[in-house]
């Protein structure tokens, strides 16, 4: 019924690198698409019932069992006929609790600071695969005070999930951290209220017992006041203990260097106030009963009965009640961003990651046409959520001043989940100390071998990989941080062929690696020096080195490609590209002489789009923006609309200017300032559909206008391809010493040939790009205007 955890983490391309001296350097080589050996990524027939990947939040309700809470994007948009209930059942029905405490020794309840667990599940029947991140939130009214939740990234592509596991794991951990932080805050508030109720009740009870006269009004509530008082006092102790535990949450986040204390704009104040409130209110000094009744918050203490307290038949809190509004909002934002960033199929994401990875090595030229901006939408874009906004640890950690008042009471709170599925009761617990999850992973025994084969490279004891349901496979799990010994992680999403010995590498390899979401992963250093150093010497060491090499690169790559940059590359980016490409295509169709305008831009000659209608001018400026090499700040090169006369200094920075003809209504046809600087300018007259600029007679940029492409996005990518060929040539030109400073006849001949091979116009483009590269590398601000004395031609439609 339950398959063994038969799979694997990452499929990896262990291609052998032929010792070819002409081959690209390793860091520039492009790995094959991992599934290239199989059918094309587009030919797969999916039987899934949902339209696109989505994120699902489910909870294990103690009343109704697993149920979906929300999806991102909305259910109606993504899920189609996919049965969320069923799927929730599957992903929640595996055991997720990986942490428990050592034996409790007092009567007080012990909060479990349960670490999240991460698994990859597959439902082969539905064709759905999911990365599932389990977490627990606290709820005073819930059984054991915990509410199990899980966040799942559901996709029809297994490979996509495996490939992005570390990214998902990172990002979901942040979301989880955020939710839990908000939850702790609400939980503390709830405890505080409850404590006040209890204290108040206790006082009333004491008074009544002392006066020994029943007012009868409470007779129903408290049949036996003495027993009631006892239980109230016990409850007070328990709640104090809980409050202490939750407020003194000694987070591992503190040791986590990645944890960035975030100061949200609106939240911290209220948060601090809340904490202050807690701090001050939870010190009920005996004999100062009056204090208890001091109005400290809006909460009015109520009388309680322990009989009522422990009833669990109330309606459970929903997520909004469990988690502070601000944090919930941030978490959802983050989830939306994850969803956005992972849109597209694996081949697209893979291609993007490779591109980003390769771009890392092209630092000397990539700045030139990096991320053409969308002038219209740039301002609207939300600031990227780089790190999750979490309150400063000190705020959450601040110990109540009444710390001493609390006794340390530790007690196991077993959590028992009973799910009836397919008529078959399924029980899983994690409350037993002897449960397999406590076993420290045998980190030293990691079979990391240089001669890895089809077997798993590293197989961790995987006792936690329990799954339920016929069609559910646990594809990979993660152990929690605390229960393990020294955390050892091997995570590999190799983006390039690792350096394994050739003999052992053939075909497609599957490597199973254990994932461990510990602080190392978060910091991005998967192999801290001390841990690597502790590994055995010999062939293992070699492999380890290789691994560390590749994982390091992976991490850096991940942090780049899946980090903030991905924000731009997501669907929004695709749309942006499509729009940019479409605009450019429009331009090409509208102006038959577009090539010459593009030549002006690529050779650094300022192009003025002259017109009387702002919208039209801006439109063409936008259309031309993709051809502009970057000088310094990208936006500075473009001035979408101006009515001010151009100054000579403007020409140094502005390379594309929308100019208001109506600012100079008296000027005959062309404003005076444009006429004055006409030798530095190309003028595109939108109203008269004419262009005055040097004519282009070269060949290199012709593909930009001669393509038959009709799709915006395709054209955008086509443009990027053509331009990158230009940049390559410019790079060569920049670094060919002999071309600039020929020392021998041979070299000057070569320089001559290089120039002869290219048309003067093309040479001008390359020289301009080369100049930009030079300025970039010498870190000189482009403060000069280079120009040439060439005749302009007037083109008319």
């Amino acid at each position: 019924m339950i398959g063994s955890p038969d799979l694997l983490a990452f499929t990896t391309d262990f291609r052998e690198i032929p010792p070819d001296s002409f081959a690209l350097p390793e860091e520039l080589s492009v790995p094959l698409y991992p599934q290239a050996g199989e059918t094309s990524p587009w030919s797969k027939i999916s039987k899934v019932k949902f339209d696109k990947d989505f994120i699902l939040i489910s909870e294990f309700s103690e009343q109704v069992g697993p149920q979906p809470v929300l999806t991102i994007p909305d259910e109606s948009k993504a899920c189609g006929s996919f049965n969320l209930n069923d799927f929730s059942l599957r992903i929640m029905s595996m055991d997720y609790q990986t942490s428990f405490s050592s034996a409790g020794d007092s009567g007080c309840p012990k909060l479990n600071f349960v670490e999240d667990s991460k698994v990859v599940l597959g439902d082969s029947r539905e064709g759905a695969f999911a990365y599932v991140h389990h977490l627990t939130l606290y709820d005073l009214e819930a059984r054991g005070f915990v509410r199990p939740f899980c966040i799942a990234y559901v996709s029809s592509e297994e490979d996509k999930i495996m490939h992005n596991f570390s990214h998902l794991s990172d990002e979901f951990s942040k979301v989880s951290e955020c939710l839990k932080t908000g939850n702790r805050k609400n939980f503390a508030n709830e405890l505080d209220r409850k404590l006040r109720d209890l204290e108040y009740t206790r006082l009333v009870l004491l008074r009544e017992i002392k006066e020994n006269q029943s007012t009868r009004c409470h007779a129903v509530l408290w049949p036996n006041k003495h027993i009631e008082l006892d239980s109230i006092e016990k409850a007070i102790q328990e709640h104090r203990s809980l409050l202490k535990q939750v407020t003194s949450y000694p987070t591992r986040k503190l040791q986590d260097p990645e944890f960035l204390p975030y100061e949200p704009d609106d939240a911290p104040l209220s948060l601090e106030l809340d904490l202050d409130c807690i701090v001050h209110s939870e010190v009920p000094v005996p004999g100062m009963e009056n204090d208890i009744f001091m109005p400290r918050s809006s909460h009015t203490p109520q009388l309680l009965s322990m009989n009522l307290c422990q009833r669990f038949d109330k309606c459970l809190k929903n997520l909004e009640e469990l988690c502070d509004e601000y944090f919930l909002c941030q978490a959802l934002k983050q989830l939306h961003s994850i969803e956005r960033n992972l849109r597209g199929d694996l081949s697209y994401l893979f291609g993007y990651q490779i591109t980003q990875n390769l771009l890392q090595h092209l630092s000397s030229t990539k700045f030139l046409f990096e991320g053409p901006c969308d002038l219209e939408t740039k301002a609207d874009q939300q600031p990227e959520v780089r790190s999750l906004p979490l309150p400063h640890p000190s705020q959450l950690q601040s110990e109540p001043i009444s710390l001493d008042a609390y006794t340390s009471c530790v007690e196991m709170v077993p959590i028992k989940l009973e799910v009836s599925r397919n008529g078959q009761p399924l029980t899983e617990t994690n409350s037993v100390p002897a449960s397999p999850w406590v076993d420290p992973p045998q980190t030293q025994d990691l079979p990391v071998r240089g001669d890895c084969d089809d077997e798993e490279v590293a197989s961790m004891p995987r006792k936690d990989s329990v799954s339920s349901g016929e069609s559910i496979e646990v594809l990979g799990t993660e152990k929690s941080f605390k229960t393990q010994g020294p955390p050892v992680t091997m995570e590999a999403v190799p983006q390039r062929p690792p350096l394994f010995p050739a003999t052992v590498l053939e075909g497609w390899r599957r490597r199973v690696v254990a994932f461990n979401m510990d602080s190392c992963t978060i910091t991005g250093s998967l192999f801290p020096v001390d841990k690597v150093g502790s590994l055995p010497e010999g062939p293992c060491q070699l492999a380890q080195d290789d691994l560390s090499d590749c994982t390091t690169s992976t991490t850096s790559e991940t942090s780049v490609s899946l980090g903030p940059h991905r924000e731009r590359s997501s669907g929004r980016n695709l749309r942006k590209w499509a729009r940019l490409g479409r605009d450019a295509l429009h331009f090409l169709h509208h102006f038959p002489f577009a090539l010459h305008a593009v030549y002006s831009l690529l050779s650094g000659r300022t192009l003025v789009v002259l017109g009387s209608e702002e919208a039209a001018v801006k439109r063409w400026v936008r259309a031309l923006a993709i051809y502009i090499p970057r000088l310094g700040g990208y936006k500075q090169s473009i001035q979408p609309w101006t009515s001010e006369p151009l100054q000579i200094a403007d020409l140094l920075t502005w390379k594309l200017v929308g100019f208001n003809r109506m600012a100079f209504p008296t000027a005959p046809s062309i404003p005076l300032c444009l006429g004055r600087y006409s030798r530095y300018l190309s003028v595109l007259d939108v109203d008269q559909r004419s262009l005055r600029c040097p004519a282009y007679r070269g060949s290199l940029i012709c593909p930009l206008v001669e393509s038959k492409i009709i799709h915006g996005e395709t054209y955008f990518l086509h443009t990027q391809a053509v331009i990158s060929r230009l940049v390559t040539k410019a790079f060569l030109l920049t670094f060919s010493h002999g071309l600039h400073h020929p020392t021998s006849r041979n070299e000057s001949d070569r320089a001559e040939r290089f120039r002869c091979d290219l048309h003067d116009n093309d040479m001008k483009i390359l020289l301009f790009l080369s100049e930009l590269i030079r300025l970039h590398l010498t870190q000189t601000a482009p403060t000069v205007l280079q120009f040439s004395y060439t005749a302009s031609t007037l083109f008319k439609v």
């Binding site: 920049t734 010498t778 205007l785 280079q786 120009f787 004395y789 302009s792």
Partner: protein, 454 residues
Amino acid sequence: MLRWIMGGRGSQGTIEKSAALCIGEEQPKNCFTELQVLKGHFDIVRFLVQIDDFRFASAGDDGMVLVWNVETGERLVELRGHTQQITAMTTYTFIKGERPHTALITASSDRTLSLWDPDSGNRLQTVSDLHSSVKCLLVLDHLDVWLSGGNELCVWNRDFQLKCKTVHHRDAGTLTAVWLCMLVVCKESNVSWVVDLVIFKLNLSEAEMSILAIHHLADHQDTIRSLININNELFASGSHIGELILWDTVNWTIQAYEHILWEEPAGDGQSEVRIGQQKQSEMSIQHMYSDGELITAAVGSGLYVYNAVMKSIVAYRKVAHDSDILHTELLDNGRVMSCSEDGSIRIWELQDLPLAAEPASTGFFGMFGTFGRSGKQAGAPTKKLLEVPGLRSLELIGDLIGHSGAVQMFVSFGVKGLVTCSADHLLIVWKDGKRESQLRSLALFQKLEQSGGL
């Protein structure tokens, strides 16, 4: 193009003008293909002074003096202290500790004189409470004194001590204009200088320096606008109405007299109208420059090149700019450069005329008067220019456009570039783009070598 100018037919008058001004965008001989805009001044920049082979100072109506690096365009030092516009600026090189130091002397309308160290930006010396503001400065390096000209002529030593001064007995009104032109002519031990054709003698033999007016030359019929030293034998003066006189340094006799008249032939009716429209300044010799043999003169908006040795005209162009030329120089490569109120700088090349296959109509050449007043140059009062052997033409080979106000003056650093200053508060450094590109390339390779790769 030349034919149009020389054609002299009235119908071509307008064509001639546009032909002279429009060179088009193709300028293969113009090597200034890179420009750098230097911002820093807040008012008209009037003066540029070269300090050494890479530094120069600029000054103008905002009272600030800025020192720049011509290679990088970096502003090195700001010299602040004058409260009003700068009226004169010059460099002053002196030996201090066996090393030559170059300092800057500036004069301002606030009636102060200051000595600056362009390395540190410190004001080394200052003189205030002058009776009048100084209009011109002149350093006599070999005597280690310098002179300031205002309503009076003062002689100062290195320590800013007044050695002697003249009290001019003429009225101050005319003097103001006169001081603009001051020239030192040195001949053996006789040190004297000329101001508005007043020759002064600086007597050094006595214990106290003294300065005396010893001679007056009153041959100009109008205000003298410019005065230059050509060589040891000659100096030249130019007046507001286009008189150019070459003087002998020793005996102050006239060696040559040219009266430049930018006029159309009198017989042409259309030209008469144009003459009527001509401003007086069209013939004014605003600026002159000499390399010891050739003189270039800015005559109104025209250019005039004269050979002082041969006493003959070399080339001329009546309309070289759209408005008055403010500064002109002969470059090392034999080219002539001029800048004008029209905001442009133009580069001219002296070219041989095609052999006079078509005798141009007498045109306005006839209106050039070339005659000498001295005995040596006694000849026909009017000579047709075409008859002058070796007459060449000034061909426009390039223009530099960038300023939006009058270009006040320029300083050439040879291959390193050219600096221009303008009424639009800007300085522009014009450079050879190809050379600069190579230098940057070299810098990059050096950097790569140092850092061992990318």
